[in-house]
């Protein structure tokens, strides 16, 4: 679903622009994004900004995406384990499938995602790129 109003964009601003996740106040565990409950059972968190570095756990490419990404395809997608622990699903930018290898180091970069309709809002967020 690709919202035609900017509300969702605003709500997820910190999370998506700044890789802002959460640290459990009780046990210190880090989460991205913030969950309802920590594994320790606590629901109290403080904001935690992730460094934006991690390891590529798996990757693939998408030739034909959902409607909102139609003009954006092809693009690569991967799961990165952040150096602080949590895993993140992310588009992989500035690289081709052939460049990618499980285990390689990745860093976060700020990119355009999609625009909603011809006059709609442009959505931005964090993507990951190989640390060459």
């Amino acid at each position: 679903m690709f919202r035609s109003t900017p509300i969702i964009r605003w709500r997820k601003y910190q999370e998506r622009y700044n890789l802002m996740g959460a640290k459990c106040e009780k046990c210190g565990k880090l989460h991205y994004p913030q969950p309802a409950l920590c594994t320790c059972g606590s629901s109290k968190f403080i904001a935690h900004k992730f460094k934006g570095e991690g390891t590529l756990l798996s990757f693939t490419d998408i030739g034909s995406g959902p409607e909102a990404y139609a003009e954006h395809a092809p693009y690569c997608l991967g799961i990165i384990q952040l150096s602080e622990g949590p895993k993140i699903t992310s588009q992989l930018s500035d690289c081709k499938l052939e460049d990618l290898k499980i285990g390689m180091q990745m860093i976060a970069t700020f990119r355009k995602f999609y625009s909603s309709g011809e006059k709609g809002a442009i959505y931005y967020g964090t993507k990951f790129t190989p640390k060459w």
């Binding site: 679903m1 998408i62 959902p66 990404y69 799961i79 588009q91 959505y123 967020g125």
Partner: protein, 383 residues
């Protein structure tokens, strides 16, 4: 638990241009009633699995539609758990009977997917994943399963050829199933050389877009014995959940919820994996079939691909899997799939499966997955 399946009904699976969502649902509903030899008025409750009719046909509230089709005013409810919606409807039917609220229940599954563009279907299907974590990133279901496939290949050394054995076997089975969407056999090369969808998965690793509906009638043991001298019994049912997003799980190379659901279902049925004679599993993508087989305990972790390549999963081999052709060859009308799996097991256990009949099958298992494994249902059937 001992609940009888006293009637089954399936439409043709495929691109059914001339039938609407309602037409497909009604056709399966009337067929299961006819096979059970009962009248609509005998149905006390209805449960229907459907995933995408809201997005693809603008129609929610399928429960009421199912009751209206039979001209009934009985309780009729839609159940949704993405691609596991059909098996969830079966579980709702089981609960209705086990609770004593009803003695005869109709359970349906339906999906009408070919009225809209592929992009619209892709978008709608992403509702099964985590919209904020995966959908916003432009993830698609082929891509998410490709991530699992690559992680699994790296971890266990699965080869592309071994993986291709899955759809090759599916199409062999589909070629013997008159309702299957694709009834044409494939070779390993056909799979590997098909156009790439999400590397390493090609078009021939992916289940298609399908219209179809399925229906079964469940009844209490005493009614089933009275109405049908060849009833098949649901003897165990398990369901488990996991995180919506693949990236929030511990491992990318297993579907943990299958293991949890199977443990519960097998315990309830009083069986172990060794007692299983055949299984219908959720092969939305070829890698998913291997994960399902391992999750059910029908192969050790990392070994299902070798069994597939050795041909063990054909209908006439050691451990028949997806004798109907699976989601790949029989087709995958999302909400209908879980109920269709039950229908195939019932037909096999009743020796009604024609050319693809498994010999001496007495215990069959159906495993239905929602999303990348956030919901899994395992139902156990016995002759």
């Amino acid at each position: 638990m001992k609940i009888g399946v006293i009637g089954t009904g399936l439409t043709k699976f495929g691109e059914i241009w001339d039938k609407s969502l309602r037409d497909l649902l009604a056709e399966a509903q009337l067929k299961s009633l006819e096979e059970a030899g009962i009248s609509p008025k005998d149905i006390e409750m209805i449960f229907t699995g459907n995933m995408c009719a809201g997005a693809l046909s603008g129609q929610l509230h399928i429960g009421a539609m199912a009751a209206e089709n039979l001209r009934l005013n009985v309780p009729s409810t839609r159940v949704e758990g993405a691609c596991a919606s059909g098996a969830l409807a079966i579980r709702a039917g089981i609960a209705a009977i086990e609770s004593g609220a009803a003695k005869i229940v109709q359970v349906n599954g339906v999906e009408k997917m070919t009225d809209v563009s592929t992009e619209q279907v892709t978008t709608a299907l992403m509702g099964a994943g985590d919209e904020e974590v995966e959908g916003f990133q432009g993830a698609t279901f082929p891509a998410l399963y490709a991530l699992m496939a690559r992680a699994y290949m790296q971890e266990f050394g699965l080869t592309r050829e071994e993986l291709a054995a899955v759809p090759v076997k599916s199409h062999k089975h589909g070629s013997m199933n008159p309702i299957a969407q694709y009834q044409k056999e494939l070779s390993i090369d056909d799979v590997i050389n098909a156009s790439m969808v999400s590397d390493p998965l090609t078009l021939m690793d992916c289940s298609p877009i399908t219209d179809g509906a399925s229906s079964i009638i469940l009844a209490t043991e005493s009614i089933a014995k009275k109405l049908n001298n060849d009833a098949v019994w649901v003897v165990g049912s398990g369901q488990a959940s996991d995180t919506l997003a693949l990236s929030n799980r511990d491992s990318l190379s297993e579907i943990k919820a299958t293991r949890f659901a199977a443990e519960h279902a097998f315990k309830q049925a009083g069986i172990t994996a060794r007692d299983v004679h055949l299984a219908e599993v959720h092969d939305c993508f070829s890698i998913a079939e291997l994960l399902a087989i391992e999750g059910l305990g029908l192969a050790k972790k990392g070994e299902a691909g070798k069994h597939a390549a050795a041909g063990h999963h054909y209908f006439d081999s050691k451990m028949p899997i997806n004798t109907c052709g699976g989601l790949k060859s029989c087709g995958h009308p999302i909400g209908a799939t879980g109920v269709k799996q039950a229908v195939e097991i019932v037909h096999q256990l009743q020796n009604r499966a024609g050319k693809r009949q498994v010999k001496k099958a007495e215990v069959g298992v159906a495993q239905n997955v929602g999303g990348t494994g956030a919901t899994v249902v395992v139902n156990v059937f016995k002759r």
